[in-house]
């Protein structure tokens, strides 16, 4: 992104969360909490069915930040988020963000964004702030 300014929208990321992907994520991350992978266990939980890992959903924010800020994200990114509601299999999620503030110093600028992951229905799954520092 060039000539970024406050209130600019970040390029969004959309995903379809499937059981297969949740299982793949469990294997890749080593998080085998049965609420993510065991139908019988999940049915008895407060959610009534398998839910995706919070960090799996949060990764869509990181992907969005990488898409928008490239290497600056992996070198200087900060993310603070709350997991608001679960994501079930076969639900689509959309990671979005907006630049809320740009702080300039002589040699650097910090770009602060409000970030969200929402379901297609608009229900908020994750809300938070993400920022990067860029050299001028």
């Amino acid at each position: 992104m060039t000539d970024m300014k406050e209130k600019d929208q970040l390029i969004r990321i959309q995903k379809l969360i499937t059981k297969e992907k949740i299982l793949q994520y469990a294997n890749a991350s080593g998080d085998f909490n049965p609420i993510h992978i065991n139908n019988d266990f999940a049915k008895k939980s407060q959610f009534g069915q398998i839910i995706a890992h919070g960090m799996m959903i949060a990764a869509s924010i990181s992907e969005m930040m990488t898409e928008n800020f490239k290497h600056d994200w992996i070198e200087s990114g900060k993310l603070k988020m709350k997991f608001k509601s679960p994501v079930f299999h076969n639900e689509k999620i959309i990671a979005s963000g907006e630049i809320t503030k740009i702080k300039n110093s002589e040699t650097k600028r910090e770009i602060i964004n409000s970030v969200f992951v929402k379901k297609e229905s608009g229900e908020i799954v994750i809300s938070g702030t993400a920022s990067v520092i860029q050299n001028k």
């Binding site: 995903k15 992907k21 793949q24 994520y25 294997n27 890749a28 991350s29 080593g30 998080d31 909490n33 049965p34 609420i35 065991n38 266990f41 939980s45 890992h53 919070g54 960090m55 799996m56 949060a58 990764a59 869509s60 990181s62 992907e63 990488t66 898409e67 490239k70 290497h71 994200w73 992996i74 070198e75 200087s76 990114g77 900060k78 993310l79 603070k80 988020m81 709350k82 997991f83």
Partner: protein, 138 residues
């Protein structure tokens, strides 16, 4: 470290581990997420570990050491990436408990993680908040 969550004091070291994230692990991680960043960004992640992959695998050590029960819910997360990490590079993750409290039927734990490379260069700082069923191993 005690197995009883009620006995865990703030400041307790939960885990201290060394791990290597290799190319296969990065590929598995990106595949699970359908993350297309690598294609879009000229193979960024053939060289560097995706930052959230570091966060997820750091959390894995905590999950194992704390014997986190099924039904535990991740409520909040803070992450600060300090430097990029190279694929195949050895990383150290030290995790400490910074909050242990009870509200109604749930125990709330907050764990701080500090990831460095083998030269002690900071890679990532993280803070994970989880809630566990209060009746479990208390």
């Amino acid at each position: 470290m005690t197995d009883r969550y009620s006995n865990l004091k703030t400041g307790t070291e939960i885990s201290k581990e060394f791990f290597v994230i290799d190319k296969d692990q990065v590929n598995d991680y990106l595949k699970a997420l359908d993350d297309s960043s690598e294609d879009k960004l000229l193979n960024l992640y053939t060289q560097f570990i995706p930052p959230m992959c570091i966060a997820a695998l750091s959390l894995r050590g905590v999950i194992i050491k704390l014997k986190i029960p099924g039904g535990t819910i991740h409520t909040a997360q803070e992450i600060e990436f300090k430097n990029s990490a190279i694929v195949g590079e050895g990383l150290y993750c030290k995790a400490n408990l910074i909050l242990n409290s009870i509200r109604v039927d749930w125990r709330f734990l907050t764990i701080q993680m500090n990831v460095t490379d083998q030269n002690e260069k900071p890679i990532m700082l993280g803070k994970s908040s989880i809630m566990l069923p209060h009746y479990y191993n208390d």
